[in-house]
């Protein structure tokens, strides 16, 4: 059935397109899915972890690619708008960390809950808001998701609780949401994210204790991008094994630059929580290309070579693209087309975002 639908859609897409390259693309036979090996996760207090192989369908692959590319383009557009002083205040960008937001979303249901800190634009998108609403919010316009009053750090959506400025403060909140999930009995989980800097805040440990004591369906997720503002993890933490810091809470360390690894780990963690075993901790090892915020060039505490190395070897979008092309799930041209579409989409969203009206006082 799926093969038939795919064939039909290929024919239709081939028929509708004008550029010759599209017709060429449509006539190729792509694989429907491919199996990939993913990195084994380090485990803490767990007998077994997520699987080391996973199946990626062409459809999912294209979806993830498009989503990650959209987040990337949106963040770069925000960078541009900030430099033009159209976005003001504080702006924390997550380019480089796309596999985290897209991968997490791929592993949960839209009815699950998510809360994070201020590097939240990617999550706002994956949780369902449009680029237009996000950019309008960043520029303080009424069409923004928080009516222009929240700005970069305070974006909210259904089952997405922001967007929180105070470091670490969102973690006890996430534990509370998990309590509500358990209480409502709808088999939902709460993803509670925080960074490597926040991992040293006292209230995180208070939340760990409560979640474990009451067996709350809370997935604590430490997005370790190696730097808390300008401080590297080695200089801030006595133990940089963030996945073990929950002590009595089982944990796993995940390659946060590989979207498939993130997805599998999230599925594993969500299943763990839904089975009533209590909270679990995931550390996503990832990297941000930009500095901490737009006021931080990001090169005074790390070398440009380091950033370049990550970009060339571990860029999440590149990794997915290579996988898909090499397994014949998609062609380079097709993905380039998606790039172009995404670029245009973000561009038109941003011009919309800068033109609509300011919120009333």
């Amino acid at each position: 059935m799926r093969k038939m639908l795919a064939a039909v859609s290929r024919v239709l897409s081939g028929a509708a397109q004008k550029p010759a390259s599209r017709v060429l693309v449509a006539s190729r036979n792509f694989a429907n899915d491919a199996t990939f090996e993913i990195k084994k996760c380090d485990l803490h207090r767990l007998e077994e972890g997520p699987p080391v192989t996973t199946v990626l369908t062409r459809e999912d692959g294209l979806k993830y690619y498009r989503m990650m590319q959209t987040v990337r383009r949106m963040e770069l557009k925000a960078d541009q708008l900030y430099k033009q002083k159209i976005i003001r205040g504080f702006c924390h960008l997550c380019d480089g960390q796309e596999a985290c937001c897209v991968g997490l979303e791929a592993g949960i249901n839209p009815t699950d809950h998510l809360i994070t800190a201020y590097r939240a634009h990617g999550f706002t998108f994956t949780r369902g808001l449009s680029v237009r609403e996000i950019l309008a919010e960043l520029t303080g316009r009424r069409g923004g998701c928080a009516k222009g009053k929240g700005g970069s750090m305070h974006m909210y959506a259904k089952n997405f609780y922001g967007g929180n400025g105070i470091v670490g403060a969102q973690v006890p909140l996430g534990a509370g949401i998990a309590l509500a999930c358990k209480y409502n009995g709808k088999d939902e989980v709460c993803l509670t994210l925080y960074g490597d800097g926040a991992a040293n805040q006292g209230q995180i440990f208070e939340a760990y204790n409560m979640a474990a004591l009451w067996k709350l369906p809370c997935i604590f997720i430490c997005e370790n991008n190696r730097y808390g503002m300008g401080t590297s993890v080695e200089r801030a933490a006595a133990s940089t094994d963030y996945y073990k810091r929950g002590d009595f809470i089982p944990g796993l360390r995940v390659d946060g630059m590989d979207i498939l690894c993130v997805r599998e780990a999230t599925r594993f963690a969500a299943a763990y929580c839904r089975s009533g075993k209590g909270p679990i901790l995931m550390e996503l090892q990832t990297y941000r290309y930009h500095g901490h915020s737009m006021s931080d060039p990001g090169v005074s505490y790390r070398t440009r070579e380091e950033i370049q190395e990550v970009r060339s070897k571990s860029d999440p979008i590149m990794l997915l693209k290579d996988r898909m092309v090499n397994s014949n799930l998609a062609s380079v041209e097709e993905l380039k087309e998606i790039d172009v579409e995404v670029r245009q989409g973000v561009s038109s969203s941003s011009s919309f975002g800068t033109q609509i009206t300011l919120p009333p006082v």
Binding site: I86, R88, G89, G151, V167, Q203, T231, T357, L358, P360
Partner: protein
Amino acid sequence: MAAVSVTAGRLLRLRAAGAEGYWRRLRGTGLARSFLQPASAGEDAAQTRQVAHFTFQPDPETREYGQTQKMNLFQSITSALDNSLAKDPTAVIFGEDVAFGGVFRCTVGLRDKYGKDRVFNTPLCEQGIVGFGIGIAVTGATAIAEIQFADYIFPAFDQIVNEAAKYRYRSGDLFNCGSLTIRSPWGCVGHGALYHSQSPEAFFAHCPGIKVVIPRSPFQAKGLLLSCIEDKNPCIFFEPKILYRAAVEQVPVEPYNIPLSQAEVIQEGSDVTLVAWGTQVHVIREVAAMAQEKLGVSCEIIDLRTIIPWDVDTVCKSVIKTGRLLISHEAPLTGGFASEISSTVQEECFLNLEAPISRVCGYDTPFPHIFEPFYIPDKWKCYDALRKMINY
């Protein structure tokens, strides 16, 4: 500024319609004048840069303390810290990112000069920072802790209020943490929004056992900070972050002290007393000039400097002379420190008052992002309140 003037226009129409009672405080052409920039500035939507709501007015240079050097606020802080670490071998500076110089450059060069065991970073844990600082101070060493923004001081609130403030009292003076000073950037900055603009002095004013000090300028900052560090009580020193670069003055290179709990009468006058602290002092200075020019009213300006324990005598003496008092601060109106001053002054000087005491403060809302120009108690709001007092 086109975008802002559009909103200002809408606001004036709102007022005309009598729609928003809350905005009745904003009256008259004053609001429009501060936001309607010349037409040329309005054209380019990309250049919506705000003009600051004040102009820093430096004090005349003083030769009293020896040679002076041109310094801005963060440099004067660095100078004070440098003097402290040089004089006091037990002094240590710690906080988030202080080692490389701090996010506002207040500790630049100190680690190189005094070593990494005297100037060091802490992890991201405000409660831990202050608790740790109290511990250092209790042993007798001088602890200078930095909280990166005053908005982040709240995890440490328990440590400050329950531990630091009560240590001497509860141990019957056996122990104390008087050698603890907490420094923190404070106040609005133009783009800070909810969590980089707060002025939390009122929360701490309610706590006996600590001192809270806020300077208005580099010269004041160095003297007051040195006094805080040497004071035998735990002190919180809030630094107006908008002045870090904007305020430049001649500041003595050598250490000097400005006494705590002493307000300063910056300008003498006979008709109205204006009280403020920090950045707001410069706003009321302009208001005083406007009042003199437009209304022929002579204002006495007082910089409170120390919030607690505050200089009741200076303020009351002034109000007895003038009969009118206006207090202004960025922090929200309800429960702001102006309410304490107002209450005490009416107790002490009731029969001297010619008009109700006026408080021009921020609104009772979280500190807004794009609405900041409307939120802050700018010179127009203060001038308007002053006019009402005169005509009472």
